[in-house]
Amino acid sequence: MSEQKTIMRHIPDRLDSPLHSAIFSWQTLLLTVAIGIFVINSFASPYFLDPWSLSDATFNFTEKALIALAMALVIISGEIDLSVAAIIALASTMMGIALQFGADTPVLVVVGLLSGLVCGAFNGLLVTGLGLPSIVITIGTMSFFRGISFIVLGDQAFKGYPIDFAYFGQGYVWWVISFEFVLFVVSAIIFYALLHKTNFGRQIFVIGNNPIAAQFSGVRVGRVKFLLFCLTGLMSGVAAILLTSRLGSTRPSIASGWELEIITFVVLGGVNILGGAGSILGVVIAAFIMGMVTFGFGLQNVPGIVMSVFTGALLICVIALPIVVRRFRKGAIE
């Protein structure tokens, strides 16, 4: 016994080098797909490689992708938020109301962000405070938030946003680089650090994997989840500002159906819908893929609705493929 104690076994940190595991990761597969789509698109249409049209292409996914960043965290923690698009509608409506009271651009921004945050906190409170299942609660708040927009606006719209407000959704930081795109890149870096480099991010993974063990390890599960819902609400507020600024108007039907697209981004990006696994890089690449495919189809005059067949099939295949492969391998061994 005492002999065993003196010979301490050395256990290496890891067996595979980080490079090795990076090469055989989901993100690499996605990146390959992304490059493939990029190449196909550039051959298929002469307009694709034009810097301005590429820049235009980013607009159709950055707003959704911004929310997808936060949604990824919520889903990794084992919850889901279906109310994000409705939060955009409500936040946009609140900005419209502020506009009627003569608010200028800074006030509009604050109103947009605050509305999103409050909606997110409301979801978080219901889910963590009352311990209700997030999938039903956010279906409820989804109707509720958008319903308020309908009550306020009916079939009307808010218009006449200040000229400088248009910068968020239409402005360019430098040459073809839009403000939206820059904001997305910066947010992606921040979310990457938050999820993969901080204590908070580690706790998100642990909660998603095993909430009971997390609680037994002293992680304040309820608080983390509450903050994630607030964060998702806040990012929906950001998206509301960008979208309202880009469209220049608010209608209650704004961003309808976005929640499902955003979840598709997240799941395609390799986040496990049951929680516990995922990466920001994957979500970012998935967003680019979806953006490029939409844009590429657009250049070929393929209607958006056909694109949805592709999206849906991709979503199912991407999840089914690893399962089928695993089954097949297992069968081979047995």
Binding site: M1, K5, M8, D13, N199, A213, F216, G218
Partner: protein
Amino acid sequence: MSQPKLSLSGISKSFPGVRALDDVSLELYSGEVTALIGENGAGKSTLVKTLTGIYHPDEGEIRIDGEVVTLTSPHSAFELGITAIHQETVLFDEMSVAENIYLGHAPKTRFGTIDLRAMHSKAKTVLEGMGAGHIEPATLLKELGIANKHLVAVARALSIEAQIVIMDEPTASLSHKEIEDLFVLIEHLKSEGKAILFISHKFDEIYRIADRYTVFRDGGMVGKGLLADSPQNEIIQLMVGRSVDQIFPARDSSIGEQVLSVSQLSHPTEFHDISFELRQGEILGFYGLVGAGRSEVMQALFGFTRPSRGQVRLDGKPVNLKSPADAIKAGIVYVPEERGKQGVVADLPIFQNVSLPSLHEISKNGFLQLANEFALTREYTERLDLRASSLSQHAATLSGGNQQKIVIAKWLATRPRVIILDEPTKGIDIGSKAAVHEFMGDLVGQGLSVVMVSSELPEIMGMSDRVIVMREGKIIAEHINDETLDAATLLRDAAGIEEVAA
């Protein structure tokens, strides 16, 4: 009684790292009750799962009326007339009594639909036949008490005309009156010629109802016979019989000042008036039967559940433990019994498991420092002699013993004052058991204090300085662990039986 109704021979079943059943045999006879006796981890529940078709044995054969049968699924067990009444009664709360009795074999009408009227009247007949006519077939199961739920489970067994009935700790949460009623019912089943396997820890019940016994220890069959020929002490000896592989480390720790004192801790339904103290360098054993409330007390100490009353003092100062995070901060940590559910995070790497409660220590301004994290993990896992190919290996890929080492390492890394180990060696192999025991010795040598909840007598007797016995949510006895303390005394305290003249 020439031919047994059911006989098992040479049954073995292994799980990664553990041999749960090792060449066991068992016979059940029609019209007789056979008691299966053994400590936790002796292999009783694995046997029940094998008999009900959930697990498939690696080796051995099962015969019914002398014919070899294979139990491929729960459904095939059901068709062969085997039914089990489980520890935690597995029935359907939201369904009616009649539906629970006839799920899967309801009487049908000519059109193939369920004949509700026939189902209710047959359920009524079955219930009345067993003296449970007070239960209405249309009642929702959730409106019944535990005792009546048991009766429904028994009625289900009768309704499928099962010839072999397995009762897994059926008396665990029944009152004395209810237990008596159950025994009347078992007599009724016996008179109908059923072969019954009765699993219980309680010797008075076993002697009261069973005809035969079979004793399991560490996954093997160590004895069987007729109860009438076997005095209680003989069976206790068989059950406890210290296994040769288990040598407990000798240690000479000096017990110091009082560290933790708990007074009058109570919970509305789980435990009552729990008071004890713990000294520096001491191992305090908590012994009792499964469901005696030991884990519940520990989880309250750890801030996981809120006690309704009572006080906890650490170093003489009262502490308010509202969550596990508070307890960890105060220096009390808890290695839970349900390792898979409450202990390890299976799909995360080892180092992330170990650093989890210490994230604040290894990080800078909230940012993780991988180098610190690996260093911390290495320090504690190597002390525990963890066997793993790398620290980035997922916890799920390790054996139970090594997973337990991860959980213990995780807590040691927080440098606690008091470490509570709940069934620390349950379901892990002998080698890892020894490592865990040896390490407990080291811990107290370094001045930590240990509370060890265990249902294994050798472990309790081999490791503890003092032993507290709990039964039904209360502290029954406290013993200094010296030469005068014997296993039989503890077992009697825990099971609530009077001393009998040997």
